[in-house]
Amino acid sequence: MNNRGLKYIDEYRDKDLVLNLINHIKKSATHNYVFMEVCGGHTSAIHRFGIPSLLPGNIRLISGPGCPVCVTGTDFIDKAIIYSKKEEVIITTFGDLIRVPGSASSLEKEKAMGADIRIVFSGLEALDIARMNPDRKVIFLGIGFETTAPGTAVTIKLAREKGIKNFWLLCAHKVMPPAMEAIIKAGTKLDGFICPGHVATITGSVAFKFIPEKHNMGCVITGFEPSDILQAILMLIRQVNRKAPDVEIQYTRAVTASGNTIAQRNLSEIFEHCNTRWRGFGMIPSSGLKLQKEYEDFDAEKIMPVEISYNEDNPLCICGDILRGLKTPPECSLFKVACSPENPIGACMVSNEGTCNSYYKYLHNE
């Protein structure tokens, strides 16, 4: 990075541009619209810039399941905790996972009690830790969607290439389109999706084609700046008004129809689709990624199987309904009363991208 910093931040946050878009939205919005922003990055940006305070009252944005931390099941955390208690194990994880409550503890608490849990910024950093600690067993917690999964795929390939024998993956990677279909099938009343821009950078817009074709619902693949999001809202309104649902790309500076084919190749080389459990949704067919047979020797669960007892989440927590867009955080009896970012009960309160966390941080006196 040069001394002037990143380019093209302020340009997309221009007040006049934003005002202009808001005016167009107000003119075009002739009735009520409900759109879901699928991605947690969008939820966070929408609240950080105060977009709800600028939109007219007949446009409602609801948040979807696109925060990887939030949809990761309690069972995954419980497994990671069991591994972390083994003397020889080093757990490597992205930072926001460590505060997610499991059924009885969290990785953060285990770390405070002496478990060797290290925060990394990438799988490759975890692999380095394995290389530098040959007498330890290093487990990388793989979470995230099509955005982070290619990085994990490359890490596994590299581990194989370099013959690293003390590195394993505990995998909770997921893919997004099946979850969007599950939302439609759950009966959430929606007029369109603000589609995840970074996921689509990898998958291409083609991955969302089935939504207008099969379910008659519009999609706009969207960037993460306020003008991106507002432009996408305008595009969705126009799709609804024209009764012509389609997949449009607003985020043209990053997304193409076919996506990042190198990343896709890496994904299909290392992973295959599997049924997986999403917090709040239960099992969604073909929505998870697991290591292919050829790479099973890197699968922590295959090499060091652990048993967990299945625990129900707190029955009062409505993270599930929130993730499906059926309820909003203030409708939860725990929100702000027992559940806060310091003491999260549901996963949606943990991550910066979680819906409850965003509502708590940016809107909590409304």
């Binding site: 910093g5 990143l6 950080r48």
Partner: protein, 348 residues
């Protein structure tokens, strides 16, 4: 820095173990200080940057702070310089003229003597710049692995004029008062982070670490309407604003476009997902001044090297008591909340 403790609505149950979150400077730190220390020590709230003690004939300010920054050396300073200017600033923002410091060292066996000499040299230099004397100290050495290289604790005392004892509690603040900061935020945290070598970036960002006592004294000598000051260390600007709103039971409105942030800091925050308003500074203060006098305050700040980029960022309002509202860059509105969850550990 002594913690100002706020009452939060949901006192969560104290955890069984201390986690890094308890050191983040946010809500959990406040809870720990309140439930473990304040009630046992019988301290009088609100806690401020320095304790203000009235004795017959003079008013004394006392403060103490521990420094655990990692790495010890970073662009713009090192742990020694930080240990002096941090404590000097805690005294100065309370309205005191800092006079004497003590310094205690916990050193890990095997620490390089030459590094210790460089750090001690920086402390001497910064003390001389700030016009304070280091007059007492202590040294402990622990076995390898029992502490990480070097931790320093400094305590400081100063004297303040009796008519300035309102500054740390903000009791003269009224609606319409203006909020001023003395320059761009976030540089210290980003400089330290960049020096950690774990992230694959190099930056030109330099820590703002500096003693501000002369700047502060000039403002206090020439202006009569300074109602509050606080340094923007751990937890950053957002934390100080929230603590202030709750301490004085007023609302605060902040204009995001007016908050100075250097471009490289802005860019790195975008990449790393940080908000500069929550990042630690070591040479930045918030000043609350009466509306009539804010231009004069700004003029004085602008003429000083540590205040060249000072700006008015908001004002005290009678609405939304206890809350800080941010007018966002794009003209929206949202709450600017106190940070929760782990920020960056060991930044100071």
């Amino acid at each position: 820095m002594r913690e100002h403790v706020i009452l939060i609505i949901n006192i969560s149950t104290m955890n069984e173990y201390v986690t890094l979150n308890h050191g983040s400077g946010g809500n959990q730190t406040h809870e720990l200080v309140k439930h473990v220390f304040v009630k046992r020590f019988g301290m009088i709230e609100p806690l401020t940057d320095s304790a203000i003690l009235k004795e017959p004939g003079f008013t004394l300010a006392i403060t103490t702070d521990s420094y655990v920054v990692d790495p010890l050396f970073f662009p713009g300073g090192n742990i020694g310089k930080l240990a002096v200017c941090g404590t000097v600033n805690d005294l100065a923002v309370s309205g005191a003229v800092p006079l004497y410091l003590s310094a205690s060292f916990i050193i890990e066996e095997g620490f390089r003597m030459s590094d210790l000499e460089i750090i001690a040299g920086s402390m001497a230099e910064e003390a001389s710049n700030a016009g304070v004397k280091i007059v007492a100290g202590d040294t402990k050495v622990v076995e390898k692995g029992k502490c990480d290289k070097l931790f320093i604790t400094t305590s400081g005392t100063g004297i303040l004029k009796p008519d300035l004892d309102h500054i740390s509690t903000g009791k003269r603040i009224k609606s319409g008062d203006k909020l001023i900061i003395n320059g761009p935020v976030g540089n210290h945290a980003i400089a330290v982070l960049g020096a950690r070598n774990r992230l694959d970036f190099s930056t030109s960002v330099i820590s703002d670490c500096a003693s501000l006592n002369y700047l502060i004294q000039t403002v206090l000598n020439e202006c009569k309407e300074i109602h509050f000051m606080r340094d923007l260390t751990r937890g950053g600007l957002a934390t100080v604003l929230n603590e202030l709103a709750q301490m004085i039971s007023s609302g605060i409105i902040i204009d995001e476009t007016s908050i100075p942030v250097d471009d490289p800091v802005k860019g790195l925050c975008e990449i790393l997902g940080f908000d500069p308003l929550y990042l630690a500074n070591e040479g930045k203060i918030l000043i609350v001044t009466g509306d009539e006098e804010h231009k004069k305050v700004l003029e004085i700040l602008h003429s000083h090297p540590s205040g060249k980029h000072s700006a008015v960022i908001g004002e005290i309002v009678p609405d939304h008591k206890d809350y800080v509202i941010l007018n966002t860059l794009i003209g929206g509105k949202r709450i600017l909340d106190i940070p929760s969850g782990m920020q960056l550990p060991r930044i100071c």
